[in-house]
């Protein structure tokens, strides 16, 4: 194997001409795959293409996320970093891991650096780099939402988009994007999976009880969007329809049987995200609580109290927020999710949209 290929496989960035990326990659891979045929076992593998758009200032955390994603999901990762420059540079490197049996499985990362002018021409930069026949995902890490022209040009050519409402400077705008583009999801949605699982566990085998809920409260700190998304999901799964906005945080809803219900978003100081969700039923005189205890924030405590039915307290481990895990969770799930769509639409309404 020649020196450039050895460096490339070792994860060292190789500067390349941005117009000749695929040609250089072919040349770099050739010695490795030829040796693979002889039995040394290096496999170039791409389950998909992940296109990442981020600000240059976020280069380090984004790279760490990409490394973690590549380790679990061998793919072509195209990172476009937007900084203060007016040209485009490119570098490539491989991300390898040992598979069971000892062979080496490698994906590849292409890092492009450019300025705002190039960002505006993103589709032209990125589309030639999408691999055919495999899932293409766009992760938009910038705090500004993508321009309409970018959305129109790029989204139809990718299979799914991922944005982060928590990092958005204009959450309302991003929620608008999420509600109009079913193939775009908020990464926060995937980070809330354990909360949703916890709520679901209350009603496994007792699903009829859920229809008797008439109040939902979500307690959170930091960005409003996380609480609204969870509340939107709860209301959506219960089949509630928005009825009236009583105040900024208190809304009235209509249940499937026509009875009234309410959703309350309670805000606490700080920036730690979700703290609790409480479902209540006045008919059953009870409540079902999922809480993140202050003394054990890495877990969720489940408690239920009601007149006719109760449940032993339970506990679930709450994985810390992890963007790479959220992306991997997204990659492992169907692109369109009706529950998420409903939740997003309700969240937009809860936040006044």
């Amino acid at each position: 194997m020649d020196a450039p290929t050895t460096a490339f496989l070792g994860g060292m960035p190789i500067e390349v001409d941005p117009t000749a990326i695929d040609r250089v990659l072919t040349a770099l891979w050739k010695p490795a795959t030829e040796e693979a045929a002889d039995g040394t076992g290096t496999t170039r593998l791409a389950l998909g293409t992940l296109v990442v758009v981020a600000d240059e200032a976020r280069a380090a955390p984004v790279e760490a996320v990409c490394q973690a994603v590549a380790a679990a999901y061998p793919s072509r990762i195209v990172v476009f970093l937007v900084g203060a420059r007016d040209d485009v540079s490119a570098a490539v490197f491989a991300t390898c891991r040992r598979a069971p049996g000892g062979s080496q499985v490698c994906g590849e990362t292409i890092v492009l650096r450019g300025g705002e002018r190039q960002a505006a021409q993103l589709p032209g930069l990125v589309l030639p780099l999408l691999l055919p026949d495999v899932l293409a995902t766009l992760w938009w890490d910038r705090s500004e939402p993508p321009a309409p022209a970018t959305v129109e040009a790029l989204l139809p050519l990718t299979d799914r988009g991922l944005i982060s409402l928590a990092r958005a400077t204009d959450p309302a705008c991003c929620l608008g994007l999420l509600t109009t583009q079913p193939r775009v999801a908020d990464l926060g949605w995937f980070e809330q999976h354990t909360w949703r699982e916890a709520v679901a566990q209350f009603f496994d085998g007792e699903a009829g009880v859920a229809a008797r809920m008439d109040r939902v409260e979500v307690v959170s700190s930091g960005a409003d969007t996380a609480g609204a998304l969870l509340a939107g999901w709860l209301a959506g799964q219960l089949g509630w329809e928005p009825a009236e906005r009583r105040s900024e945080r208190h809304t009235r809803w209509r249940r499937t049987d026509g009875e009234a219900a309410s959703v309350l978003l309670t805000r606490l100081p700080g920036d730690e995200g979700l703290w609790a969700t409480i479902l209540s039923s006045s008919e059953l005189a009870g409540d079902w609580r999922v809480e993140r205890p202050r003394e054990a924030p890495g877990s969720l405590r489940l408690t239920a109290h009601c007149r006719d039915w109760c449940q032993m307290p339970g506990r679930l481990l709450l994985p810390p927020p992890d963007t790479a895990q959220a992306i991997l969770a997204a990659l492992g799930r169907p692109v369109v999710n009706e529950s998420r769509q409903r939740a997003t639409a309700h969240a937009a309404w809860l936040l006044g949209g």
Binding site: R97, R196, F203, A207, R340
Partner: protein, 509 residues
């Protein structure tokens, strides 16, 4: 459990969750419990897949306290578990759901004590009267235990006070008559839907993926018939000998130990027609049809289609090992086979005339299980001979390196027209950087969920026995000197090569 779907499960990773239950584990001091069952249950609990209200009650004859049982299971999880407990708190949360009950299987009074213990667990752990009984015991106890459970009103077709399911481990009988007797006995106590005959092979990822490959892709099914397939090879090769199972194995043999169950199930999955729905009944109907299409053979047919053999002294991985009849527990004049190969055909439109070659043996050079679909050669040979084996073969590797590969020929770069066999390979381990669950994890969860798709139905068992019994009867009539030998570490007797038609050869694995 009511039938209203949980609205909060819609769209979650787990669309269904098992109802609260007690997992009652007969044979709690046995090897299977320590190696497979409790590590699998631990993994399910750890992954949040088991019910929240869940309890594992170990049942066995040996006196033991709850704490002693927990300590033993902790050691088992440490040794055999896929994941170890992250800390003591995590283990303790699981351990509190473990208990032990001494039960002399043959004493009816012991089942009253068991019933009382189970009622207590329902009260303390909210397990709602649901029970999954797992019989990890020798088959001679199946009837006694289930009868006693029934007499103590712990099982029965009436599930008003909570569901009742019974999982039994193979062997499901030792021949058709005993299998029918066992099924008849169980059906006197339970409905077929409550009986889960477990074959751990069906919990393996590639075995399940076989159906996905066939019915989730449009390209394979049109080729999946006699017009395109030359033959099918199913191999279950083991490097292990008979270990400490000498006496059992001498009564059983390769045919009954492996062919009647695992290999017949693999055959059924390869050969079945598309099910009308993705539901247990529909899938099992199609598997059963395949096994029904296996004719009972005459002794003359057995003589020409089956080769049996015993391993003889030889070297495997540099270690010299004794021959089969030198093993502890094996009679020196034993006529039990440690290797069996056969050529069979299925009397169906799809498969008429397509040979299925099955081979299984102990002390072979590699531990590997695979299904290989060999496609016809092109009708006209336009090219010079291929470097390496020619022909297209689709191989589904079931263990140890689960995956799928397709062999085809390609032109070697250069000015000359030279063809070489190449391989496209999909490996679970390399494509999905996540560990597949152990087969038992999947199967135990399915049993808790009441999904018996991957469990064997009574009629499948009966059809497989009908065929295997005819083979055994034919072998019994053969003279002693038809028992072939093969050296430890070889791929079996030379006589097995003669089973293959035309140019076909056993795959070199």
């Amino acid at each position: 459990m009511n039938d209203v779907p949980n609205p909060f499960r819609d769209g979650l990773t787990r669309s269904d969750a098992p109802a609260p239950c007690v997992f009652v584990l007969f044979g709690a001091t046995g090897d299977l419990t320590a190696r497979k069952l409790v590590p699998a249950l631990w993994q399910l609990v750890r992954g949040g897949l088991a019910p929240k209200q869940f309890f594992v009650l170990g049942v066995a004859r040996r006196a033991k306290s709850d704490d002693e049982f927990r300590a033993e299971m902790r050691a088992a999880v440490d040794k055999f578990g896929r994941d170890r407990p992250a800390d003591e708190a995590e283990w303790e949360a699981f351990a509190q759901r473990l208990g032990y009950c001494v039960c002399e299987f043959t004493q009816p009074a012991a089942y009253q004590a068991l019933a009382q213990r189970l009622r207590g667990i329902d009260a303390s752990h909210g397990t709602a009267g649901n029970r999954l009984y797992y019989l990890a015991v020798a088959p001679e106890f199946f009837e006694g235990i289930t009868s006693s459970l029934h007499e103590a009103e712990l099982i029965g077709p009436d599930q008003a006070g909570g569901w009742r399911r019974v999982v039994i481990e193979k062997p499901f009988g030792t021949d058709l008559a005993s299998a029918a007797r066992l099924s008849g006995h169980l059906h006197g106590l339970l409905t077929e839907d409550q009986i889960y005959r477990i074959d751990h092979y069906l919990g393996k990822e590639t075995v399940q993926n076989l159906l996905t490959l066939r019915f989730g892709n449009a390209i394979f099914e049109p080729l999946w018939n006699r017009n395109h397939i030359e033959h099918v090879q199913i191999t279950v090769a083991e490097t292990e000998g008979i270990g400490r199972r000498g006496e059992f194995y001498d009564q059983t043999g390769a045919l009954r130990d492996m062919v009647q169950n695992h290999m017949m199930q693999l055959l059924a999955l390869v050969a079945m027609e598309p099910p009308v729905t993705w539901e247990a009944g529909a899938i099992r109907d199609e598997k059963a049809k395949v096994l029904r299409a296996l004719p009972a053979w005459t002794p003359a047919q057995v003589a020409s289609r089956v080769v049996r053999a015993q391993y003889t002294r030889g070297t495997l991985a540099g270690v010299e090992m004794p021959g089969f009849t030198e093993e502890a527990g094996i009679a020196p004049d034993s006529l039990t086979e440690s290797y069996v190969a056969m050529r069979l055909t299925l009397d169906t439109w799809r498969w008429s005339g397509v040979p299925f070659y099955l081979r299984h043996g102990k002390r072979l050079p590699k531990r590997t299980t695979e299904i290989a679909i060999a496609f016809h050669q092109p009708p006209l040979s336009l090219f010079p001979p291929t470097v390496g084996r020619s022909g297209n073969t689709l191989v589904m590797r079931i263990q140890p390196d689960e995956g799928i590969s397709l062999n085809f020929v390609a032109k070697v770069p250069g000015t000359r027209l030279t063809l070489q066999a190449v391989k496209m390979d999909f490996g679970y381990g390399s494509s999905f950087a996540q560990t597949s669950p152990e087969a038992y994890e999947r199967l135990l969860l399915d049993a808790m969920l009441g999904d018996n798709t991957l469990f064997t139905r009574e009629d499948e068992v009966a059809s497989a026995w009908r065929f295997v019994d005819s083979v055994r009867a034919g072998l019994a009539e053969q003279p002693r000197d038809t028992m072939a030998g093969y050296a430890v570490g070889s791929w079996g007797p030379a006589a097995a090569d003669a089973l293959l038609d035309g140019d076909a050869t056993w795959r070199r694995l």
